[in-house]
């Protein structure tokens, strides 16, 4: 399998390149492949020689189903047909079920049944001990492998104690590596399963075929990719599924951010960036009430002491100016300059009368008073200048304290917040200040001080109103934030989903392409590999169909996903597409067998045997000889064990002279089951020989020739049994055994030598060896058979046949 999986992996890798599959899609496919077949590429080898074949040697059953005391079904390991007959209830099916149970741990006939079936598995008469032992020979392995299941007293069917013995060493079933092939090739077919093969669940048949074709890697990969796609699609839908609930929450939310969120979600494509800004809580572009609330919170007024100082400063400056009381700095300066000029004049005209008025003498006394007047006037002018400058500065300082009126105070802040008080307060404050700073005539005294207190009162009122407004704005914002928080969380979660969804939708699209490509490629490879299987099925059907007007065309694996199935191109009377429902039960069974055999006998299967339980039951009598032919053609390369409840199949085999061993199972009282050989190729040759020998009407010569041929056939058949059974158990490969048989069968002496000594080269030792083995009669029988047709023994034919029987028994001892 490793090699085939490896080749599937190779096909996939190569075709990915050839088909120019986009990078992302190809990487998804390769990733799925790595996960489904991690060992691919590890370079598994050593399977080139083909699988080792396993054959059944015996099935021993005790205390199980219809079998009480231990009963053993001995089988000749190696290719060949064994028919086990027995009436219904004889216990024959118990052997088939036991072998299946011991090897696979389950039984298809019971698998889907109610517990009543599972409980009734112990034998009624001998419930304890309950044990199954299946002896097998393995191609190329010396010794016998024994698979056993036994049950403690009272143990349930499932709690069997399973062991595998190879020679004297205990191994586990897992170690044998049979679990997967048993599931893949299922060499067991029960009557119940026969119909189910065709009418059963179409997907399981599909998967089984797919697995046999070495294509389960395709199935596994598709399964992996489909799961990924499903989860991507779920991600895609998650945002959509959550949307109605989110929109309902948004609609119920008064916050204007909810409106903005609705808008962002409603846009195509959705504006997830805008949504994220809302989630963080920042206002989008500072619009809307929340932005205004924030403005309200940031409204700042000058500090009260600054305000008071500025107002006081202006009042004081005003007072200082008023105190100048009409003095004009310019007049004082001019007068001072006049007096200064008069004083200079007086210095050169001391004691002369005043040149302006002529009355007063400008003496020293005048000069002294004039000097002091000049000083006084100059001081007066300087003071007046300073007072005016201070007044201007104080006006400017006060004006600078007044900020522009915040627009938020004039805005509609909604029902939660009324800025009216603050707004009118602001206006009054501003107008009071304007009144104070205007150049209007100054009120004097008390009037001035009342103006100061009015300005301050207006400021205090405003300050109070603003503080109140601000704190209510803060409260409103806090309330809104508290109310928004959960929704913001919801939005954040949804935004995450939406982003994942965007990513998932890209991924889902790539996955879809990957799956499509995988299916198309799988189909190509699969139908190419299916062809040989389909051919075998068609051949089997051809042999089984007999008079059926049902024609089986190509078999294909069709459909994908849950619709996958095996398509049988069935035509009835040349009408295509006719439903399987038109077919009879017997036809369905035949078709089931046609599907089962190619699978159970696939070249890669390690199982050299198939066990078929009652395929004849619903079969048309005429199909039985077709079945006989099918089974013996399979038996050329496989060990075929068929259980049947009537004589039709053995009769057909006998009549068609198809080589088969027939065993009869009979059940006595108290579930005592015995197995007895009814017919075997050896026995049939001998029976035929006796029938001819007794036909007195035939000339003796003719009888002698015919009897010799049949006796020779009996000896050869006995030798083939001996060689196969012994050499396969010795660990010689099936192919090598068959080859040596083929070569030796050209000469009776060679085949007997091969049977007796294990080597055709010792043909010379045969006569003496036979004498030693079974006395002179054995040797005589050998010589008579060997001379056979060319020089027949004309003596006692009955004795010849009896001696031949002795010889075959001696060989098989």
């Amino acid at each position: 399998m490793g090699e085939r999986e490896g080749s599937v992996a190779k096909i996939v890798s190569e075709k990915l390149g050839d088909d120019k599959v986009p990078e992302e899609v190809a990487s998804l496919i390769l990733d799925a492949m790595r996960r489904c077949a991690p060992e691919v590429g590890a370079g598994e080898g050593g399977q080139a020689a083909g699988p080792k074949r396993v054959y059944l040697k015996s099935i021993s059953v005790e205390g199980f189903r219809g079998i009480g005391p231990k009963a053993t079904l001995h089988l000749a390991p190696g290719p060949g047909l064994t028919v086990v007959t027995g009436r219904n209830g004889s216990g024959k099916s118990s052997f088939a079920e036991a072998a299946e149970l011991a090897l696979t741990g389950e039984n298809k006939r019971w698998a889907d049944r109610s517990s009543v079936w599972k409980e009734g598995w112990r034998n009624l008469h001998e419930p304890d001990p309950a044990a199954i032992a299946v002896q097998l020979t393995e191609d190329g392995e010396a010794g016998i492998t024994t698979v056993t299941s036994d049950w403690a007293l009272g143990a349930a069917l499932e709690s069997a104690n399973d062991t595998v013995w190879v020679g004297g060493t205990e191994r586990s079933l897992t170690e044998k590596g049979w679990a997967k092939p048993l599931e893949l090739y299922r060499p067991f077919l029960s009557y119940a399963e026969l119909g189910a093969l065709v009418s059963g669940k179409p997907t399981s048949m599909h998967d089984a075929m797919q697995a046999i074709l070495g294509l389960d890697l395709f199935t596994d990969m598709e399964k992996t990719l489909t799961e990924e796609r499903r989860s991507a699609e779920a991600d895609m839908k998650a945002a959509k599924n959550e949307l109605p609930a989110l929109l309902a929450k948004l609609a119920a939310h008064p916050d204007e951010r909810a409106r903005l969120a609705e808008k962002a979600i409603g846009e195509r494509p959705q504006d997830l960036a805008a949504l994220d800004a809302l989630i963080v809580g920042e206002d989008v572009a500072g619009e809307g009430p929340t932005g205004l609330f924030r403005q309200v919170i940031t409204v700042t007024l000058p500090a009260t002491e600054d305000m008071a100082a500025a107002v006081d400063r202006l009042a004081a400056a005003r007072a200082a100016v008023a105190a100048l009381a009409g003095t004009r700095a310019a007049d004082a300066r001019r007068l001072a300059r006049l007096l200064t000029a008069a004083l200079e004049h007086q210095r050169s005209h001391v004691g002369e009368p005043c040149p302006v008025c002529g009355a007063r003498l400008l003496d020293e006394a005048w000069a002294a008073s004039a000097k002091s007047s000049i000083a006084e006037l100059t001081a007066q002018a300087t003071d007046a200048d300073a007072a005016f400058a201070e007044e201007r500065a104080a006006v400017g300082a006060l004006a600078r304290l007044v900020p522009p009126k915040p627009s938020a105070l004039a805005a509609d802040l909604g029902p939660e917040l009324d800025p009216a008080a603050a707004s009118t307060g602001w206006d009054r404050w501003v107008s009071e200040i304007a009144a104070m700073t205007s150049a209007a005539p100054l009120p004097a005294g008390d009037a001035a001080s009342s103006r100061v207190s009015e300005v301050m009162a207006a400021f205090e009122a405003l300050s109070g109103a603003v503080t109140e407004l601000r704190s209510s704005a803060e409260k409103v914002l806090q309330d809104r934030a508290a109310a928004w928080q959960p929704l913001a969380r919801d939005l954040a979660l949804w935004s995450e989903l939406a982003r994942n969804g965007e990513h998932a939708s890209v991924l889902a699209n790539e996955l879809r392409k990957a799956i499509e490509w995988l299916r198309a490629t799988g189909k190509e490879v699969r139908n190419a590999r299916l062809a040989p299987f389909a051919r075998t099925s068609a051949e089997v059907w051809e042999m089984l169909r007999q008079e059926s007007n049902v024609e089986l065309g190509p078999i294909t694996l069709a459909g994908a996903g849950p619709q996958r199935k095996v398509t049988l191109d069935v035509t009835i009377d040349g009408v295509p597409g006719a439903a399987l429902s038109v077919m009879s039960q017997g036809e369905l069974h035949a078709l089931g067998l046609a599907l089962f055999l190619p699978r159970a006998t696939a070249a890669d299967s390690p199982f050299g045997f198939v066990i078929i339980d009652d395929p004849v039951q619903a079969m048309d009598p005429a199909k039985v000889d077709g079945l006989a032919r099918v089974l013996s053609s399979v038996a050329r390369t496989r060990q075929v064990v068929v259980f049947t409840h009537d004589d039709r199949l053995p009769a057909a085999l006998r009549q068609l002279q198809l080589s088969a061993t027939v065993l009869a199972v009979t059940r006595h009282e108290r579930s005592v089951v015995t197995v007895r050989a009814v017919s075997s190729p050896v026995k049939r040759y001998l029976d035929d020989a006796r029938a001819l020998a007794k036909t007195e009407s035939l000339p003796e010569g003719v009888r002698a020739v015919a009897v010799a041929g049949l006796c020779r056939g009996a000896i050869e058949a006995a030798c083939v049994d001996v060689v196969r059974s012994r050499d396969l158990a010795r660990g010689i490969s099936h192919a090598a055994v068959e080859e040596s048989l083929d070569r030796a069968l050209h000469s009776l002496q060679d085949i007997v030598a091969l049977a007796m000594f294990g080597s055709a080269a010792r043909a010379g030792d045969v006569p003496s060896g036979l004498k030693a083995l079974g006395g002179p009669s054995c040797a005589n029988a050998f010589w008579d058979a060997k001379r056979g047709v060319h020089d027949p023994n004309h003596g006692d034919l009955r004795r010849f046949i009896d001696d031949t029987e002795l010889l075959t028994k001696a060989l098989r001892r």
């Binding site: 007999q546 008079e547 059926s548 007007n549 009598p621 005429a622 000889d625 057909a652 009549q655 068609l656 002279q657 035929d688 029938a691 001819l692 036909t695 009407s697 035939l698 000339p699 003719v702 020739v705 015919a706 041929g709 049949l710 047709v789």
Partner: protein, 127 residues
């Protein structure tokens, strides 16, 4: 083949009669026609073998069918297919020609198969 004037029964005439029975219902044959047809084919087979033994081993014709089928391969070494053909045809015909209450009459397709087997056998053995 079996003209109105001649009364000689040959394998060919028996097979021709069976063929007519197979092709279209014959008045009077009624529901028993498949068994009648099988009987005709079986007689054709037996007569073919009789004639063959007449040429190579007359006493064999007196033996039972089991013996005849056992001897046939010894005398048809150059015609290896014939023994198998005879066995297959006999397997079907032996049962079909008997009136077992519980056994169903053969179908047209089965009869056609046996008919062609016996025709082939007659051609090979009596050539």
């Amino acid at each position: 083949m079996s003209g109105s004037g001649t009364t000689v029964v040959t394998p060919e005439s028996l097979l021709a009669a069976a063929d007519r029975l197979l092709a279209s219902p014959v008045p009077g044959a009624g529901a028993q026609w498949p068994r009648a047809c099988a009987l005709l084919i079986r007689l054709a087979l037996e007569m073919t073998l009789d004639r063959f033994w007449g040429r190579v081993l007359p006493v064999a014709a007196e033996c039972g069918m089991r013996q005849q089928l056992l001897l046939l391969p010894l005398y048809t070494v150059d015609l290896p297919a014939t023994a198998g053909l005879a066995r297959e045809a006999w397997l079907g015909l032996a049962g079909a020609a008997h009136h077992h209450a519980y056994e169903l009459a053969p179908t047209a397709a089965e009869l056609r198969t046996w008919h062609s087997e016996v025709t082939q056998l007659a051609t090979l053995l009596l050539a």
